[in-house]
Amino acid sequence: MTAPVLAVDDLSVEYPTRRGPARAVREVSFTVSRGETLAIIGESGSGKTTLAVALIGLSRAAHVTSGRILYTAADGSTEDVRTMEPDELRRWRWRECAMVFQAALNSFNPVLTIWDQFLDTARAHGMRDARQVRDRARELLDLVHLDAGRVLRAYPHELSGGMRQRVCIAVALLLRPQLVIFDEPTTALDILTQRAIIDLLRDLRAKLGFATIFISHDLSLAAELADRVLTMYAGRAVERASVSDLFYRPRHPYSVGLLRAVPRVSGALGSVASIPGSPPDLVRLPHGCTYHPRCPLVIDACKREEPALIPVDTPEHDARCIRWKAVAELVGTERRAVAEKLA
């Protein structure tokens, strides 16, 4: 097995606040292999976006306080993103790791045409030949099913939300990166456009073979796209599993809660169950397991000490829960949606 494209090791990120540091990401570790899709899921405020922004060294208000972000280039050389010089980091971004933002609608400078923004991106990475950039842009826009001639001349506000998100994806692929981070890429879109974007992503990934980090609060989308899933709660990775293990055999009560909250098409089996309570205050985290105030399986031991991420009964599957066996008993091992089993 070759080295993973990205290996994140013990990454922590803090925001300074008046009341003290808000620990938005705490000692998160994971790897993304070549061509693989990792989904990072969690409620809003769980630290997903902070993590994504830290990965490409773009945190402004937040500080990365510890950890390593090891990136392995196509030639096999490995480097820590955190120790790169500013200019090296600037060139690394997009050439090696591109990002599609949640706010695709505002990802473009309103006073420049789409073509200008393609060209700006290309020039920043040493592509000087405008004709070459144009050919590449046309090729990519074709790939995302847009009318390249029209889109390149357009200003961002002249395109619909779905079109802009497609353009974002095309720009992300401009420099043939090995890794693309999608931060809630479909949140602002209507359901049909969402569908189309997801299909497009799957298609592109198969054609181009880039690795993906897919950040979402929408588990059904994650289930469609991901190979592996990381669940985050209050800045911690609380569960790491393959997609089928996570969806059919979750071992952390929070993952179970999220899965129960997924609205199902077969609505006969009861309504959506949302997790009671709200995410904790990141400045004053609860003692012990940070999920215990909301956990239905809580015992006294949960309040004393924060559990480590430990291997559970299925292979390559970790959960940060001392009660994982109780969870296993509850949801079993059948290949059936958790929500149905618990309904």
């Binding site: 600037r90 933002f101 706010a103 505002n106 400078n109 506000h157 619909s160 079109m163």
Partner: protein, 369 residues
């Protein structure tokens, strides 16, 4: 739209006069809905109201300037009442014997032809020529002051936003807020008192006027240097008057655009800081300021009555003050009209400029797909 269908409508509009009225009504309705035409209508309306107001004040008020002038001319028996009346009428290009509404119409007609009448004081000198003589000085002093303050203010504002909370930000932004809260005239008086009189750094008495008396006008280095020497104090004053506004506006606009998602996205795409600062942050931050500059440009023509008078700089504002002191009503009226017109036109231009530099305005948007 008529019930008779397209053919009927065409016949209607061409054959019958009322059809034409209806077309005109529709045209007016459409015009009012078009933002450009509405702006133009408002501009014309504003100029018309201002001129009508001054006409009313000058002509109709009891003991009006016209009556006072006639009384002055007849006082020593130098002229008969009729002669004086005729002369005043000729000066302001109004037939005083005509009914008021005809006087008003003829006044408007003269205005439309660009005829602002003649000065009360020196008969034969047209108001237009008086204004044209003082206009260059005002445009030089106020224009240079305004544009310099814009350029410097925008740069300071941009840097202050990038260095938010640093000494540069605190120094210039605090300074700007204080300077922009002080009445410009009082600031100017204090500058003269402190730097001109107490410290004697500025030879304020020597710098009065537009040029040193006796210097030969011409395209010589000496003359140009002298003009700039005399203009430097007014330029400085106008610079100080405006700079605070530009610094504060640019800083807050820059802070706003630094927060925009597209700036973060541009950073993620690996764009250089220089490119992001100019084309992404700066360009978006400066958009509303360019519009404000266009509006400010309209005020250049009016100069400043107070500051030009204080510095004895012979611009439009100074001339207006003289005209008031001398009760030279045609000149007063003419200058006020020119000032109003330039402000109104500048407002129109500002809208136009904005729609040119901001692609989001005035273009069809929101394609679907």
């Amino acid at each position: 739209m008529t019930t008779a269908g397209p053919a009927g409508a065409r016949l209607d509009a061409q054959t019958f006069p009322y059809g034409r009225y209806r077309t005109a009504g529709r045209w007016l309705g459409r015009t009012w809905r078009s933002p450009a035409m509405r702006a133009l209508t408002k501009a014309v309306l504003t100029i018309w109201i201002t001129t009508t107001l001054t006409f009313g004040l000058i002509r109709l008020m009891p003991g009006s300037p016209v009556d006072i002038k006639i009384e002055e001319l007849t006082r020593d028996g130098a002229m008969t009442y009729e002669e004086a009346r005729g002369m005043v009428g000729a000066l302001i290009a109004i037939d005083l014997d005509a009914p008021v509404h005809e006087q008003y119409l003829s006044f408007l007609e003269h205005l439309a032809r660009g005829d602002l009448g003649a000065s009360f004081l020196s008969s034969g000198t047209s108001v237009s020529s008086i204004i044209l003589a003082v206009l260059p000085w005002t445009i030089l002093a106020v224009g240079v002051g305004t544009f310099l303050s814009f350029i410097v203010g925008v740069l300071i504002g941009l840097v202050a936003a990038y260095r938010r909370g640093g000494w540069f930000d605190n120094l210039f932004v605090t300074g700007s807020s204080i300077v922009s809260s002080i009445q410009p005239y009082l600031l100017a008086v204090m500058i003269i008192v402190v730097f001109g009189v107490q410290l004697r750094w500025l030879p304020v008495a020597q710098m009065r006027g537009a040029t040193t008396p006796g210097i030969a006008p011409g395209f010589t280095l000496e003359f140009i240097g002298d003009v700039l020497y005399h203009a430097s104090l007014p330029i400085l004053m106008f610079f100080l008057v405006h700079i605070g506004h530009w610094v504060l506006s640019m800083k807050s606009a820059t802070l706003g655009s630094l927060e925009e998602d597209y700036v973060a996205a541009a950073r993620a795409r690996g764009l250089s800081d220089a490119r992001i600062t100019t084309a992404y942050v700066g360009r978006n931050a400066i958009l509303p300021l360019v519009q404000q500059l266009a509006i400010a440009a309209g005020f250049i023509v009016g100069g400043s009555i107070l500051i030009e008078t204080l510095l004895v700089y012979p611009g439009v504002g100074y001339r207006l003050d003289r005209a008031i002191a001398q009760r030279d009503y045609p000149v007063m009226q003419g200058i006020l009209l020119v000032i109003t017109a330039s402000v109104v036109v500048a407002n129109l231009v500002a809208d136009l400029v904005y729609s040119k530099i901001d692609p989001r305005i005035g273009r069809p948007g929101g394609a679907s797909g």
